[in-house]
Amino acid sequence: MAESNQAFVRTAILPPQAPPLTEKGVIKWLRENLFSGWFNTILTLAALWAIYSLIAAALPWWLNGVWNAGSLGECRTIVAERAGPDVTGACWAMVRDRWHQFMFGFYPQDQYWRPTIAFGLLFAAITPVLFSGQKRLQTLMLTGVAAFLAATLWLATVPMLPVALTIILMLALLALAQVRPAALMWFTVIYPALAFFLLWGGSFWGPAVAMAGLLVLLLAYRLLLPLTGVGIAAGAGIGLALLWWAVLDAPIAAGLAWLAPIGLEPVASDRFGGFLLALTIGVTAISFSLPMGILLALGRQSDMVLIKTLSVGFIEFIRGVPLITLLFTASLLLQYFLPPNTNFDLILRVIILVTFFAAAYIAEVIRGGLAALPRGQYEAANALGLDYWSAQRLIIMPQALKIAIPGIVSTFIGLFKDTTLVAFVGLLDPLKGITQIVRADIAWKGIYWEPYIFVGAIFFVICFGMSRYSMYLEQKLKRDHR
């Protein structure tokens, strides 16, 4: 060391200098992200100006909002008193006065707990589908549902019995999620009947006995399976179930109703409206369109020319015409195609056609899933000696559906938004139907922005939530594939 001819050796590292002012902190970030070049600067300034003018236009109106008033006129007076003449202000008092109609339509007010429970349980029912095999997330979801139900039922006035039953049901589901998560699927299967009973009311035995038909199917299948083949067992099961529904269903339900008259006050479907109607149509249509869409997608891939032609024809026809013409078909034309004097609910007719509509789109989504599967999967299934249906059930569909789930969710988002179109056939959708009725009331005549903003915000929350879920799923699936 001593013989070093260097004049100076630094023995310690210099402390780093502070970066220049333009290269650190906020300024650096601003420079890099907002003002990196003249083009970006212009864009940033334009965006700032756009945001400013939007806020400047809307904020006073927003801040001057009135929450307590009996009519639009009263609102205007209050705004004028508070902020002076020529100032506009929102009249949220309308939302306060009529929010329940935007939610439930004209469902009887003392029965609001029924759609609320049905809505909460919907999430419990889809939990095993959404988070299959993830015990922690399932428990979390079910706890969330339980918390939601507890909060809403506590706020609303509800008879004791349904509250007790709901609590027991939720506790049972939570326990099941810990012990045998796979068994949660059974709740998903019976949920449609339960929701039907809750929403429309009437005798408990109607939906219960109808569900028993499925039990007949399953029993026959299980019993016959060892004796005959899959095809005959399934056929016999379906035949017996049909027999049950056609012949035994009605008298048994009537008999049970006479023996043990359990039931809820019936609610006619013309009382449905608002988001209750949108969700009823959307959820029913999407759940029934799934099996139909799977069959159509398989039909489209089929080697059988006739089946392929029919599937393609159906899918292309439905996708080629606007939903609104299908809705008009439901309300104006369906009567022509059915035997004279068959007459059923407009809501049911709309649900049937919306289901067809959704099925065609789902079929295309699933076809995409099928196409994304490597050819080797089909060949491997064939090599194992599986027949067509076993291969589909065990190998192809589980993978194809998994790939298709994001697409199915976006189809559902689209469908849910499209339920607003039912207003044009006279149903009370939240956006146009209910708004029109609110505006026909003399107290709220002339109100425009507030209902649109209110309904739009709710739609946004629901659809945005679903699209985030679908993105989460996409991420998850991506990881699984690698």
């Binding site: 009529r98 009382r271 104006l332 004279p340 004097n341 044009f424 056939v425 029109q436 026909a440 002339g446």
Partner: protein, 338 residues
């Protein structure tokens, strides 16, 4: 062979069903409900109030008929209809009765295979304009924009009126009354044309009603009435006479207040016949004796219904005008109950 057999049975079954459905009255009794097609958003005539109950002048007809046929004015299932769906709904049997400010015209009565059983409101088409424009006649609206609801008789009358006067105009199509009002206020159209009753209702709810006038021209006759399907005359008769019972009740002084005792206390034979204390008018059309009594008790007589829903004491403030009793110089004239 097999196919033709199948079709044969099918056709027979459908024909049977077809014959069965021709008896609307039996269907309604079996169903326990009257299916009535109504407006959902026309203030005064048919709308849903804050509690979700249907109210209005046209809705009252549904209630009266339900009371006459089923004995309970609440046994009505209201089917919301739009301008597009109203006639197909009736034709397809989705509703038994259409009570929705529908104008009686020859083509609807014949070509569309309907029966207008009576006229419950004599209306006419008018124009509403701003007072400040200084327009005094619809003929001064040459070349202007006019708000009109498409698919109505109003639209056709408007075209006919301007054509016959050799004038031009631009139609601004509006979906419903509240939309029409908004566009009219915003000045998108100079004039708003619809039935005079609707104009009055619309004008009544304007923030500055005094600045708007309804022009004196009446460019058309618009007789509104309840509509039933062609072919079931029994049902048509029931609706017709239920309505005339309401009209006659006003003429004879039967009101919702005295309907229960006047039948026995009066000596007037016509009142006694209407209320079923004498004769068997109800049995002639397949109803019981007290059908009219219940119909009147449901919402009162014609005058009471008018006053409660669209009369001068309501915000809509329509005068009786042509709809007054014939004894008062109007056109409401019930044929004799004999």
């Amino acid at each position: 062979m097999k196919k033709s057999l199948f079709f044969g049975t099918l056709a027979a079954a459908s024909a049977l069903a077809g014959f069965a459905s021709a008896d609307t009255l039996a269907d309604i009794k079996a169903r326990g409900e009257l299916l009535c097609g109504v407006h959902t958003g026309l203030t005064g005539f048919g709308f849903l109030d804050a509690n979700g109950e249907y109210q209005g002048f046209d809705v009252a007809i549904c209630k009266a008929v339900a009371a006459a046929v089923l004995g309970d004015a609440n046994k009505v299932r209201y089917v919301p209809t739009t301008t597009e769906t109203r006639f197909p709904s009736l034709a397809s049997g989705e509703i038994d009765l259409l009570s929705r400010t529908s104008t009686w015209t020859l083509s609807r009565d014949t070509d569309l295979k309907f029966d207008f059983v009576a006229v419950n409101y004599y209306d006419s088409q008018g124009f509403m304009v701003r007072k400040e424009l200084g327009v005094s006649s619809a003929k001064e609206l040459d070349g202007e924009t006019i708000c009109v609801q498409p698919g109505t008789t109003t639209e056709l009358n408007l075209a006919d009126f301007f054509k016959s006067n050799d004038l031009t105009y631009t139609p601004v199509n509006v979906a419903d009354d509240s939309e029409a009002q908004r566009q009219y206020i915003a000045g998108e159209c100079i004039a708003y044309t619809t039935d005079a009753s609707g104009l009055a209702a619309s004008r009544a709810t304007l923030p500055d009603a005094e600045n708007h006038i309804i022009l004196p021209e009446i460019i058309s006759k618009e007789p509104f009435g309840p509509v039933v399907r062609h072919g079931d005359n029994t049902w048509g008769d029931i609706v017709r006479w239920t309505f005339y019972a309401l009209v006659a009740a006003e003429e004879l002084g039967i009101t919702s207040a005295n309907v229960n005792e006047i039948g026995t206390s009066t000596v007037n034979p016509e009142i006694r016949r209407i209320l079923g204390t004498e004769g068997d008018m109800g049995a002639m059309m397949g109803l019981d004796a007290e059908w009219a009594k219940r119909a009147i008790a449901a919402n009162g007589n014609y005058g009471e219904i008018f006053a409660a829903n669209i009369g001068e004491s309501t915000p809509i403030g329509l005068a009786r005008g042509l709809n007054a009793q014939w004894t008062q110089g109007g056109l409401m004239y019930a044929p004799p109950f004999r």
